[in-house]
């Protein structure tokens, strides 16, 4: 696909209007699975967190996780949805080896939350409202690894190995209504929506929503229609687009691909497609023929969920400050201009900065480090700022060391590199790399004496009152101490030794 030459994005938008639908699956951060008491802890050894229920053993039965339902209601409320007074789980019947019962316990025509919206902020500061169709509860599948094929891909594999630790972990599927009217900003809207949704989920504390860990997965459904027409075109469904950047790239690519096919007078087939991080292209997956028939029916092993109105209102009242409100408050607290706040937002630095301040760093310091070193690195590597291998607590510690005069900015940068390189905590790295600022006089004294001895001419000038010449000696000392000396202190010492009063 990527070899085929696509019409430019601009040309595509010149004649076509994109319509998007976004389906996001969020793994909840509950202690146990949706329908059994197995732990959801990541990284356990294969098939060590399974039981008769999540293995689909004959005779086993599901029991609903109360926190799973509560989280679903919270998400629904945060997305301005109506919460069902009465709803049921349904069985979605299809065969696949990663699904132990060969039906997914999900919800069909009775989702727990429906008819909501999420306002997202675009890079120019403007707001776009994304309508939410529904949010429903379901369960995750097991993980398969494919053996014998090239690089673990399914195609050409001789067989597969299944680990069901993930099977049954609670998922909330959030489906937008068709997103119309975004025009050339469709890819940006898609990215901004997923980013904002992630912020909302995190603020609710129902999931870490780490896309890199598969805790949040996005399907991008996209179709084009000729500008000025109403009827939707045939859509493609690009599955498991798993970073914010990829969401934007996938949408962009599909807009160009659809436009290329359509302008050749071709037709788009309704199919699922796979996104490729490497070149940002998508390739054809399974054709959606009508043989697919999920035969949904109400799950007879579970009873209806009927969230009491009073309880729903309690949850609504207890909702945390939602991200957009929080951002407005923080901008004021941090005293940032709209422009600065926007760049902080675009860099995905709001959370990290706030947490760093919470860990004791002054606002300007927290912002300086995240928006400087770290934002640059995130950009270069195309990763999320919040997903860099350094914690707000660690950044706050670096800031503290600078404030205490134990580090200067140059050294602080090295410490941060160390943390990112996995060398440990800031203090350890200062230790190991020997980065502490040298300010104790005995150690400096020697260096100063040596500098004076080696530069008698300059020393003489200073004695004669040419104090500005002291810079040359300071430089010599700093050189000798590989930049670890406290420059101000060095200057004082030199002047002392030369018996000159600094002005």
């Amino acid at each position: 696909m990527s070899v085929m030459t696509l019409v430019s994005y601009e040309d595509a938008l010149a004649s076509y209007d994109p319509v998007m639908g976004l389906e996001v699956h969020v793994e909840l951060g509950t202690k146990t699975k949706m329908f059994c008491g197995c732990s959801t802890e990541l990284g356990a050894e294969p098939n060590s967190q399974t039981c008769p229920t999540c293995l689909g053993l004959p005779g086993s039965l599901p029991v609903v996780n109360a926190v799973g339902v509560e989280s679903a209601v919270k998400i629904g409320l945060a997305l301005n949805c109506d919460i069902a007074e009465w709803c049921r789980f349904a069985r979605k019947n299809y065969f696949y080896p990663d699904m132990p019962k060969n039906f997914q316990t999900s919800q069909y025509d009775e989702p727990i939350a429906f008819n909501g919206y999420l306002d997202v902020q675009l890079e120019d500061g403007s707001t776009f409202r994304v309508e939410i169709e529904r949010a429903h509860m379901e369960e995750d599948t097991g993980k398969s690894s494919h053996v014998g094929g090239a690089t673990g891909r399914i195609h050409g594999a001789t067989h597969s190995l299944l680990d069901y630790n993930r099977a049954g972990i609670p998922l909330i599927e959030i489906v937008t209504k068709p997103i119309e009217g975004a025009g050339e900003r469709a890819p940006e809207v898609a990215k901004a929506y997923v980013a904002e949704l992630r912020e909302v989920i995190r603020s609710l504390g129902v999931s870490e929503a780490r896309m890199d860990k598969g805790q949040m997965r996005c399907d991008v459904n996209l179709s084009l229609r000729p500008n000025g027409t109403e009827k939707f075109g045939t859509r493609s469904e690009t599955k498991n687009v798993n970073s914010l950047r990829s969401v934007e790239r996938a949408a962009r690519y599909e807009i160009r691909r659809h436009a290329t096919v359509l302008s050749d007078g071709g037709t788009i087939v309704q199919e699922t497609r796979h996104f490729h991080e490497d070149d940002g292209s998508t390739t054809s997956g399974r054709i959606k023929d009508n043989a697919e028939d999920y035969r949904y029916f109400p799950e007879p092993d579970l009873v209806p969920v009927a969230p009491a109105r009073a309880w729903v209102e309690e949850l609504r009242a207890a909702l945390p400050e939602l991200p957009r409100v929080r951002r407005a408050r923080l901008q004021a607290e941090w005293g940032l201009s709209d422009k600065d706040m926007q760049s902080v937002l675009n860099a995905g630095a709001v959370g990290p900065i706030q947490e760093t301040i919470a860990a004791g760093a002054p606002a300007d310091q927290a912002r300086k480090w995240w928006m400087g070193e770290l934002a640059r690195r995130a950009n270069e590597t195309g990763t999320e700022l919040s997903e860099q291998p350094i914690t707000p607590v660690q950044v706050a510690r670096v800031a503290a060391l600078v404030a205490e005069g134990k580090l200067n900015d140059k050294l602080a940068r090295q410490v941060i590199e160390g943390v990112l390189a996995g060398e440990g905590e800031p203090d350890e790295i200062v230790e190991k790399r020997g980065l502490a600022v040298v300010s104790d006089d005995s150690a400096l004294g020697a260096a100063v004496d040596q500098a004076i001895a080696e530069n008698e001419g300059i020393a003489a000038k200073i004695r004669d009152g040419k104090i500005q010449a002291v810079g040359a000696l300071v430089g010599a000392v700093m050189k000798a101490t590989r930049g670890q000396a406290d420059a101000a202190r060095v200057k004082d010492l030199i002047l002392e030794k030369l018996g000159v009063e600094g002005q």
Partner: protein, 497 residues
Amino acid sequence: MTELIRYTAAETAGAIAKGEVSAVEVAQAHLDRIEAVDKKVNAFLHVDTEGALAAAKAVDEKRAKGEELGPLAGVPLALKDVFTTKGVPTTCGSKMLEGWIPPYDATLTSRLKDAGVVILGKTNMDEFAMGSSTENSAYGPTGNPWDLTRIPGGSGGGSAAALAAFEAPLAIGTDTGGSIRQPGAVTGTVGVKPTYGSVSRYGLVAFSSSLDQGGPCARTVLDAALLHEAIAGHDPLDSTSIDAPVPAVVEAAKMRDVRGMRIGVVKEFAGEGYQAGVMERFNESVELLRELGAEVVEVSCPSFTLALPAYYLIAPSECSSNLARFDAMRYGLRVGDDGTRSAEEVTALTREAGFGDEVKRRIILGTYALSSGYYDAYYGSAQKVRTLISRDFDAAFAGVDVLVSPTTPTTAFPIGERADDPMAMYLADLCTIPSNLAGNAAMSLPVGLAPEDNLPVGLQIIAPAMADDRLYRVGGAVEAALNDKWGHTLLEEAPAL
């Protein structure tokens, strides 16, 4: 000691408690009986000699230590092979699960163990409980101890036959459309389908989740009540389990008094297709109830005529989904995995080889009923019928305490007679299905032999949900009156094996 096998469960428990006999002796006597007759009857798919003797020994040791023994401690039991048993094979009568050894116990299994009940083994059944004759077992049919050439009913034919053949005084069955009551009727034993939700389904391999219900099988009403009390009660592992006290069934079984009770005869369960001798015995029992002081009235439940069609849409629909897990990936049979075939192909080949005809028929029928375009006309309508049937029951129970009918239209038919005529086979459950659709409680109780073939006839008693005690009150009274009249129990007329 062969006399031991003729004891009722209550007598056996009493004798063990008093120390007149040891639980090990009792277990051994039944294991010997199984050894002696089961080649002919084929009631058991698996006999757990070691486990049974160990459980019996544990009861004897408990007693030796002077510890309190439960009302069924040391009593042997035959467990339908549809309940999981940790470390003991569970096949559901299917090739699909041949050799499968569950890593966990069903809640019912652990309750039996906790009660000191001695599980002798696992009994034969129609594959995945789909059938009314036990002919659909992948491991050969079970014979009816009254006439080994005839069916013992189904799907729980093995459990019922084990009782009638004196291989065990107690058995467990499951009733989705009559699989406890119909075998009870045709083998001259007592079978009870408790109120849906009163016996945990955790570890009961599902056929039709909204209809399946485990229940007691025994040779006497009191024994059934004792077993009912041991297995019923709330289970947090089953979301559809009722969190309420179990009705006082043992007390009710001992009352033997129906004076003042109002009993309704269901008008719809008679006429064409009902064997003359069956109706004769049924009408006698209704007369008997009058003599015993009950008030008998006729009631009409017009929607019951739609029960069978609704059942044959709902049960297959749920089964098509419940049995999807048998895909050759995680447990059970796998065929055709030659390294070239895909998982999809291996699944299809395995299901083709591992399932019998009736299971395949129902999976296809259920898949059809749920598929888009047909859902509303079939599954949707069947769910409406379910509502209408519950309404008929509610109306009837507004005027009477229990309903009565023949349990089955005919006595045991010859093995093979209906084997390839599904519709004829389905008629065997005509009278039992409405209670599964409504979820209420029902019992079948032997009320004599049909004169034309000298085979047992069953009386069905139906009570409202959570009024299971009424079944035992009426059943206990009828049983006592008939035993007085006959001077012995019906099973004593059964031919020697």
